[in-house]
Symmetry: C2
Subunit: 431 residues, 2 copies
């Protein structure tokens, strides 16, 4: 290997040229989509692809990168990607400055990775006596619409009665400890977390790479508490696309909030100036629930019962008595304890959440049953007006409960978007 | 829902028409790729897409279905898909006829699913008082190049000294119990199995759906012993495509056997008539190893050391002293204990295997480390001339062993392909 080939990302010859020798992620991107991506970058404010000299070539901006900077974090109202790697972290340092340093480094790395670049000097740094800055398994892969969405759990503000980082007074009222719901069977090892990062991408290797590299950057200061891969999206935020099906075979998320529906987003998802605290304006609250499905039992249930339980038909997804999936549901036509009726805003004083869950299958349990289900993710302006009343209603009455069990749970405050290069995840909180 | 909408798959109106109402997997396929797929179907012998009246429309054959019938099973030399769900089964019945019935039903279901169809009467059968024949989560998804590859483990021939199904005398000599290799740390719960099915597809939901439905068909007679999802392919069988990277960031499978290289396939992969036994002619032997990578340790290793360990450079994948990935390796230029040198046929009396592994990440272990690595899959004509000498050499000498550990292991005889509609998985063995 020549020295030229080992040169770091930013000193590399013009991307996209074969002569560059080293196949960085951006050099494999074609020029075809450059105009589109530049447009998207401009729309998103200061796009990562435009930040440095080396990154300014059209090839670098090509394809399917989602802008990292903006008023809101990407990965909430932006179109849902195909795959998920979600990680919850414990903060293991008690040094506030060290934690802040991690958050700054994370933000810089996230900006690069979401734009399809290697982090730091890349997988092949100039000095080969050092470990590479980037682990390299995403080399040659496209940005794949990677989004990295950062959240802060209750434990960062207070844990075991201790104000660990002097943040206790800044804890949002909406960031409650979730109540215990009927039927919960939570595994502590798969619940909670001081911080979280939701990585979504169309290529799972890109999502896994991102979480792994963030964990590596934080080593000694933060540690992964639990993580979850999701192989198939359920709810989408693009209602014109085909609604995906969950592991029960039903379409899931038909009436989800659309990413383009600014009015519903403002009302139900984004924290407003009046909602407080200030550092959360433009942010949201995330609830994650690992919902195991007893799919072997479900699969022995008759079609009629399955459809009664949901309140929609299986093939088309039409509500009871209607013909098409997107027809307005007539709640009275459904059984009182059907899932769709119980979850409808009209049954919950208007409570509405943006869903962004993924199907998971984590091999097999000790009884030979697939460890499969839904990794449920919901965003909302206030957990107390969103997930909590909704889930309390479902947990008490839903006939679906015979076939599911909530086995993991976590809640996070998701700050607003990173505005520009000088901004970083959590800056307004620590300011 | 109207009766017309509930009609089973085979009685449905012309596929692809909006009037059909019910979105079967085939009705969403366009007509664009029909010619291509029909060509592929013809090349593969009696293709599933041509078997029934309802399935004969061009729309049904469109897109990306891999022919199920043929001299060899698909999923070995056919192009490697993006995702994996691999399942090992214990046979729980002692009734030979019941087992044969499962294999026949599995074969019929596999032919349908690989062609992109629902199984049986589909997810929405005419009689809604019965559980659906198909669990439905793949409704609306394309065939996604799904292949289902079936194998038979040693335990079917003999277990705990018992000849369970009168097959003991038919056990191939090449189907050995694998020896214990230095460094092995095998988890019995993730090893072995009487049967296996390797499901590969570009859409993981299609692969997961297939394994789940096969498990459901076999309920009470076979049970999943363990299963493994793989999110990213490593080795490919199409050398013109970009070589994928493993979780260590290195290209993996550069010199793999190409699916078009008939001569190497005949020499190293397919069991010939002279090799015996008769029922295995045209088959192969599969070794699966769950290889955990200590990626946190790897990530702290210098680039120079990483490249020395592999014997290739990280960015391009070129062998030591060469410029390009596909340049012929000069073994003497590599360190004696480098991975590529030790694994090369010249270091193992010509031993050559076809690799078809996948990267996995199964969340996090109790120490907060990613449970990640390589689910290694290899096919060969005879395990005693393929994986065994190769792995014995690697296990004894490879410097990579500091960073990996084999934690699961299984070996299976993979019979030849299913010839036509009357044939079924294992027929020649049970005849």
């Amino acid at each position: 290997m020549t020295d030229a080939q080992k040169t770091g990302d930013r000193q590399e010859p013009a991307a996209g040229t074969a002569a560059a020798g080293r196949p960085s992620r951006r050099s494999v991107l074609g020029w075809g989509g450059a105009g589109l991506a530049l447009g998207a970058a401009a729309a998103g404010g200061t796009a990562a692809a435009l930040r440095t000299g080396g990154d300014a070539s059209p090839a670098a901006a090509a394809g399917d990168a989602v802008p990292f900077h903006g008023a809101h974090q990407a990965g909430i109202s932006t179109p849902v990607q195909d795959r998920l790697h979600f990680a919850a972290f414990d903060v293991t340092t008690s040094d506030r400055a060290a934690l802040v340093e991690v958050l700054k480094e994370w933000t810089a790395a996230a900006a690069r990775m979401t734009a399809g670049h290697e982090i730091g000097e890349g997988a092949v740094p100039g000095n080969d006596e050092l470990p590479p800055d980037d682990t390299g398994e995403a080399l040659g892969l496209k940005p794949s619409r990677l989004t990295l969405t950062f959240g802060i759990g209750p434990g960062l503000f207070e844990k075991d009665g201790k104000d660990r980082f002097g943040l206790k007074d800044r804890r949002p009222k909406a960031l409650i400890d979730l109540p215990v719901f009927p039927g919960d069977n939570l595994d502590a090892a798969r619940s909670g977390g001081d911080l979280c990062v939701q990585a979504c991408a169309d290529d799972p290797q890109v999502a896994v790479h991102a979480i792994r590299n963030l964990a590596r950057i934080g080593m000694g200061k933060v540690a992964i508490r639990w993580s979850q891969l999701g192989f198939g999206k359920t709810s989408s935020t693009t209602p014109d696309a085909q609604t995906p099906r969950n592991m029960m075979g039903f379409k899931d998320g038909t009436r989800n909030i659309a990413g383009t529906d600014t009015e519903r987003l403002e009302r139900h998802v984004w924290v407003g100036e009046k909602d407080g605290p200030d550092w959360m304006t433009g942010g949201s609250y995330l609830v994650a629930r690992r919902i195991r499905m007893h799919i072997e039992t479900w699969d022995r249930t008759s079609l009629a019962e399955q459809e009664d339980i949901f309140g929609r038909d299986k093939a088309e997804g039409a509500p009871v008595g209607k013909e098409r999936e997107h027809d307005e549901p007539l709640l009275k036509a459904m059984k009182p304890d059907s899932h769709v009726r119980l979850a409808h805003p009209d049954s919950n004083n208007g409570a509405t959440i943006l869903r962004r869950g993924y199907s998971f299958t984590d091999g097999t349990d000790k009884l030979g049953r697939l460890d499969a289900g839904l990794f449920f993710i919901a965003y909302q302006k206030d957990v107390r007006d969103g997930f909590v009343p909704l889930q309390m209603n479902l947990a008490r009455h839903d006939t679906l409960n015979e076939y599911i069990q909530h086995v993991g749970s976590a809640v996070f405050a998701v700050p607003p978007g990173v505005r520009d290069e000088d901004d970083w995840w959590g800056r307004a909180l620590f300011a």
